[in-house]
Assembly symmetry: C2
Homo-oligomer: 340 residues x 2
Amino acid sequence: MKATINDVAKQAGVSIKTVSRVINNETSVRPLTREKVQQAVAELNYQPNLSARNLAGTKSFSVAYIYDNPNAYYIIDMQNGILSACKQQGFELVIHPCDAKSENITKEVVNMVKHARIAGLILTPPLSEMPDFVKSLLELDVKVVRIMSGDEAPDELSPCVMVNDRDAAQTITQHLIDLGHKNIAFLAGDAEHMSTIERYKGYRRALKASNIAFDKSLVIEGEYSFDSGVSGAKKLMSNDNKNNRPSAIFSCNDEIAAGALFAARLMDISIPEQLSIVGFENSPFSRQTWPKLTTADQPNDVIAEDAANILISQVRKQKNQTTMSQYVPKLVVRDSSGQC
Amino acid sequence: MKATINDVAKQAGVSIKTVSRVINNETSVRPLTREKVQQAVAELNYQPNLSARNLAGTKSFSVAYIYDNPNAYYIIDMQNGILSACKQQGFELVIHPCDAKSENITKEVVNMVKHARIAGLILTPPLSEMPDFVKSLLELDVKVVRIMSGDEAPDELSPCVMVNDRDAAQTITQHLIDLGHKNIAFLAGDAEHMSTIERYKGYRRALKASNIAFDKSLVIEGEYSFDSGVSGAKKLMSNDNKNNRPSAIFSCNDEIAAGALFAARLMDISIPEQLSIVGFENSPFSRQTWPKLTTADQPNDVIAEDAANILISQVRKQKNQTTMSQYVPKLVVRDSSGQC
DNA sequence: TAGACAAATGACAGCGCTGTCAATTGTTAA
DNA sequence: TTAACAATTGACAGCGCTGTCATTTGTCTA
């Protein structure tokens, strides 16, 4: 059957407590002893029993990923990244889907954390952007790592992994400018999402950098949905707006961009000849539209793995902890953007 | 702090063993006693400690979902459904992404099952369609429930939840026939996937039922990808094939259909006026194409929850077990199919 | 070389629960 | 009413590990 700590102790000729010390990387073990134990561990292919550890110890070896995000590809990428870090570090992952808009979301998650003895949480937008929610969790003396949009952490509540949407948005807007566009519209995602705000800032900054006058009428409020893209693009390209039509549209994500594409088709506007449309996120379906979308790509699994590793080192109370890291999404040029 | 079995026992005035009997639904507890215990459980909001149960007992309260499927929406739906069943039944879910084509996939999963003391597994295609893999798992004395394509279980290895793609494919083909189409092409998914085979059978059956001659040249082999849809549609609609062009295309899934749509656009074929295209699966992006796809919808989360419940009742060795249930995807008519 | 101290190691209880088996109840037939 | 039996309940060990604290070992100084 499976080897236990007793088997290892016997094999190495030490007490189980010493084995425990070795597998927990504690000090006060002579190098020679440590080696003997490690060899025994290897020979027996010993893996500590998580249930026993959780039961006996005060520490916990479980972290949770809480998600509320309609984008399945995003979640799966995140989950896979987290899972890979957990596996390497001998942690268990508890998955908890939820509804951020639910009234008792805090109570629900607090309950889960208590009951499952969770040591740490990984939060992605929109949950990571709800300060009160985060504060309630922190009171439980559970570690938190947030993945957020921006170039630096908004506060000191927890370590953060930042996705620099601003710089990426500037780059992608610059791409349009380089193609000769001057009337560039902006189709916003949900206004309360940090990512919308950041992407908007990047858009503005690119315009400014190229001395292009900002035209407020080219900014359309909306949400992260296909339908929002459809109606936004219709508004921009309608006949009522004949004199003010943009030659390019920056969509806050690929879904909005797909909606804009759809609207363009309805209005017989050819892409990219008459209108350039760019997205953001590089979801798989940005390759499955016609034409394929120019967009910004972020390595979600890498980001998630990074976040999980930071979380685990927090849980382990290791020294020299990272409290921030940053990723900048990369421009991916495809067929939906072209010369003005 | 959290209530333990001791607290409940004290509160109810019985021994912990009796509490254990009640929470495990064992017989040999007097109704009155049971009631007392249940009340104490409710008052203290007691939830059994999974680690302790796993450690002490011979039973396990963990099931695993193993997935290898490029379709993130499918996985998330499945996962959410399984999770909801697990939560209700007090089981823990272990998530295990993997690569079905990897050589040592069996060894990897066997290891996982042993180490995490998994009581049951839920398998979705393509893993559920690998008999040798399933057999190896069964040898571990772990319960398995497979979600598969077809109208009845292919064998007695395990309980199955069947998705009747055949009937659904017949319905969707019939829909095209009802619109007046007689030359209906078939863009296949991966040939080794049961779903491709089943959908093909349904397609054939619909033709036969309406006395439409089957034309082999209208069947294009391929795989479940956008690109496969592009090349398949190009082949069908090319000038070389001028005399044999179909008026409608049945695509084995939405991704293929999106590819076909893309190809049609490249060739200046208007949808659905000159060509009808239907998909299968009702993925979110089937609503985000232009025009929106007619497709077949299956309630993946319900299917998954059903499968998880069957699995758990197997694990619990309950009587009157379901060994098969069946779902038939429903036709969803949108804009990509029209009169011939 | 012994004594003093720190470093290394081990003995043991106990985490919350289940399995085993013994003790206690209740029920039935004679 | 009581023996005989079944149904119900409980006592206790132990799952694999960690935390606490005692013991042993090694090292350094005088």
